[in-house]
Symmetry: C2
Subunit: 170 residues, 2 copies
């Protein structure tokens, strides 16, 4: 089974000119989903990882699956205003304007090793902000794993201080 | 371990007068999370369930965990405008105004048995709309499972045609 064949192109979503990579066919097929999780975890030593953090909302899907598989706690990273308790926040630039993400202040403890998870690496702005949130908490970014990387956007450069894994390249 | 003790009350979130039930401490503890998933699944015969559907965003967390455990495909149900492919949509009333949720048209096939998942049953409006989405697709709501039920809001009455399970009652 080639996971890449299950990724569905959606032209002009969410805005005109963007070809969105739809991962829902992977999640709908339990064998494809299991394979994607196996591959997303295979470059990391989970005995050295304390917790898994995933970015809202598709990062929850892959992050929870990794957390379950390796018996780790899960830390949700969300858009501003969605997490109910006290948070650290990090603002980053988008093409037009800014965005802010948050993490609960008690989610990551000092010196804990965190694996960060999202479905797709594009420009790397959101994931770079997520890594800063982990570091603000005193935690360490042990690694970052994506299902998909859009190589032509060169997001890896923005994350060059971290160990990155991605499975499917476009 | 009493899961109820891990649910954190957040006064005045998201708006003044509401006491929000924060489930993030359950997810942060892998043993508590595993226990919650074991309990959320225990009243259902998974050999008769085809897919698990979860409601954005905390329903993704518990839904994916159940889908992984029982080797089922996962169907995301999201707020309007978030799913990239063609969708069915369902609009329902909130205290002030309306909300709309969507499901991809190819997520559920005719006569498939679907287990619906969310973290919390309040008034039942969102879950009732989710059940209608499954039925619009020709699927059957095999059951509905929540971690938490706010008994005093009587949401169960709105879902009286369905088999419902919930673990923690307030």
């Amino acid at each position: 089974m080639d996971l890449k064949n299950l990724i569905r192109d959606i032209p002009d979503f969410p805005v005109k000119g963007i070809i969105f990579k739809d991962v829902t066919p992977v999640i709908l097929d339990p064998y494809a989903f299991k394979k994607s999780i196996d591959l997303m975890g295979k470059n990391f030593d989970f005995s050295r990882i304390d917790k898994i953090a995933g970015i809202e909302s598709r990062g929850f899907i892959f992050g929870i699956a990794l957390a379950n598989k390796y018996n780790k706690g899960f830390v949700p990273i969300r858009k501003k205003g969605k997490l109910p308790y006290k948070t650290f926040e990090e603002t980053y630039k988008l093409e037009y304007g800014n965005a802010t993400i948050e993490m609960h202040i008690d989610a990551v403890n000092k010196d804990e090793n965190i694996l960060l998870v999202d479905d797709l690496l594009a420009t790397g702005g959101t994931m770079n902000a997520a890594a800063k949130l982990v570091e603000k908490s005193g935690g360490k970014v042990y690694g970052i794993t994506f299902l998909i990387e859009l190589d032509f956007l060169n997001g890896r450069k923005k994350l060059e201080n971290y160990t990155i894994s991605s499975i499917i390249h476009f």
